[in-house]
Symmetry: C2
Subunit: 386 residues, 2 copies
């Protein structure tokens, strides 16, 4: 088999939301289609990939470096030993040729977009959902029939904060989520505590609240919040501080009774390993949120899982950022803790297959071959012309 063409476009995923760190009004994503000459169901197999929210489209890097390298590679350099399917690890090596070590940002997104499309091809050639491929190859055949997802939101509503917040949270609970997440750090600590207490009051047994500071606190703020949050039983306390300041992470992990969650802004195995080595996280309690679509794709994520295992961490401590179908496939196939979800936000990339509602906090995956992009109508509209 061979790759016959690769197309990419830039798509806005703008949203009027704003976290403690950035506005998403100008946010974009890259969408790519990798065409092959393998025929399934009478048509050539095409793989689709996109990037997760929070980092921008990467058309420059895709067109200058990563797409040309894939297209210039000899077919045997990117296919497996059968010659009938892509080997994403070999393709990854081609894409990363002549790339120096270090500097894991932006290019990790570009490679992640292409990696997603390559895995979509792999599963489509095998004519099964991608999570089954992951399970067979990297998880001894085990997979989760349904994946735990939580509803991320809880932004600030100027003027009617508590009321607006509770309306939003109730909407998520009514949708079937059992865990909801709100932002903190955009208001004084006392106000945030009032917001947290208000949400906790509407939760029923079995329902949980997580809070997310989006890396905005300095050491003393992060610790003051940790202490204050110890009064509540939370699902987790997310991104308490500068994402690469492992010293503060370690202080927070020590001060916090609640689980600590972080990792959406780490984009490589080596950065994640540094978090584990130096961040003081507790492997029986805390969560790693690395997003495979932003972090050199599933190839690197599979390596990250091996690294975590070596350091004594279970895959069940991982719950990727992003709220997209690729991370859901990874979560089901590699046996993660679960996956993020942003109900109705970051469209069309956010969210899962149509007709698969969240039930009691879990979502099922479609039986369609590949990632399931064709099974989410508004996302398929982006790709069908590619």
């Amino acid at each position: 088999m061979r790759i016959t063409a690769i197309h990419d476009i830039v798509v806005p995923i703008k949203s009027e939301i704003r976290n403690a760190y950035i506005s998403f009004a100008e946010m974009t994503a890259s969408a790519v289609a990798i065409h092959t000459d393998v025929i399934r169901d009478g048509k050539p197999v095409v793989g689709y990939g996109f990037n997760s929210n929070g980092r921008y489209a990467q058309s420059g890097l895709l067109r200058d470096r990563f797409i040309p390298r894939l297209l210039a590679a000899k077919p045997e350099a990117v296919v497996d030993e059968t010659g009938e399917n892509i080997d994403p690890f070999k393709a990854w090596k081609i894409m990363m040729s002549n790339e120096k070590p270090g500097g894991h940002g932006e290019r990790s997104v570009a490679v992640g977009v292409l990696d997603m499309a390559l895995w979509d091809i792999v599963a489509k050639v095998e004519q099964r959902p991608l999570y089954r491929v992951f399970a067979d190859r990297y998880n001894s055949g085990a997979y989760d029939e349904k994946v735990y997802v939580y509803a991320a939101g809880g932004y600030y509503y100027p003027g009617k904060d508590i009321e607006g917040l509770l309306d939003e949270m109730q909407r998520y609970l009514d949708l079937g989520y059992s865990t909801v997440k709100i932002k903190i750090g955009g208001a004084p600590l006392a106000d945030d505590c009032r917001r947290i207490e208000a949400v906790l009051r509407i939760l029923k047994p079995g329902q949980l609240l997580a809070v997310d500071a989006n890396a905005r606190f300095d050491r003393s703020e992060a610790l003051a919040y940790a202490e204050a949050l110890n009064s509540y039983e939370l699902k987790w306390y997310e991104e308490p501080c500068e994402v690469l300041d492992f010293e503060v992470h370690a202080d927070v992990a020590k001060a916090s009774k609640n689980p600590v969650a972080t990792g959406e802004n780490l984009f490589s195995l080596v950065d994640t390993r540094n978090l584990i080595r130096y961040g003081g996280l507790v492997k029986e309690r805390d969560y790693i949120q690395v997003d495979p679509a932003l972090s050199y794709g599933a190839v690197e994520y599979i390596r990250i899982q091996a690294m975590l295992k070596e350091l004594g961490w279970s895959s069940r401590r991982c719950i990727p950022h992003g709220g997209h179908q690729m991370a859901l496939q990874v979560a089901a196939g590699l046996g993660l803790h679960g996956n993020e979800s942003y109900p109705g936000v970051f469209q069309p990339f956010g969210g899962f297959a149509d007709g698969h509602p969240v039930v009691d906090g879990y979502v099922k995956l479609p039986d369609a071959p590949g990632i399931g992009i064709e099974k989410k109508q508004n996302l398929w509209e982006v790709f069908r012309g590619l």
Copy 2:
């Protein structure tokens, strides 16, 4: 004052050399010109910037995000309190708006290119060399009249390795360099020792050899080389291992009698701080090689210097990667240890002002306003049409 236009182009800096990690045959760099409405010598001031070697041109990120943000900013958002010059720290904040924390690669290059051009403007408006601006603002007025530079090269010569290597080293010594650097790790340890010993034999008193592994060793190789290199008195042992594997750095720093040097593949304050915190480097002995042109520019480099000072490190332990005029200005103005130099390689961006030879291992800077790009003819050819 205001910015009136920003232009960028992509320029090949290809070279037939190959280090232990990548080939430079496809290497490119971005060159930018920032036009202003300030008149000096009868013409509007234009600032020029480019990126250092080893990372690629960044036209995608420049055009999608960083140039539009600068152009969209209100003039008062990027000028200093006099209104008559750029404030690069304010401009930096504009460029980094809506950028999430973490992921310090690629965009650090794009911002570094623009930061260089902004500082070129600052010094041209003040009508003095940039190092004098740095000295007055960030070094209590102190600066170095001449900067220590070393000649980096020493690649492998298939077929006639020792002979070719010695010819190259002798050429550097004849050019006036007192320190030369060769690659290691591309041959077995015993062969590398023979290469090192051959070079040491042609050095005269006061002349030194540094060796560079370009991050290719695993832990055991890095330690085996450290032990073997302990037999020689070297200027330093550079990039012994994976650039973000601080555990191995710490092991090497402990095992090595020679100074350890690293940092060219760290691109932010927080990554550099992690090296200092966890890398086990010795502040009286080792060297930090962060390249300002790849690492969010001089604004971030000035912050890095403040961080190093706080952690007890002197600016004299810093010797930037890259061999370009911007790093030379930074070295002279902030009182660094010195600067890299690649005689004749990575043209037209590598190297210093024409007519400024290296004498006894030191080079002087031109008196021209700004960075001195106009004083290097082959580099000026790139920019004069921009």
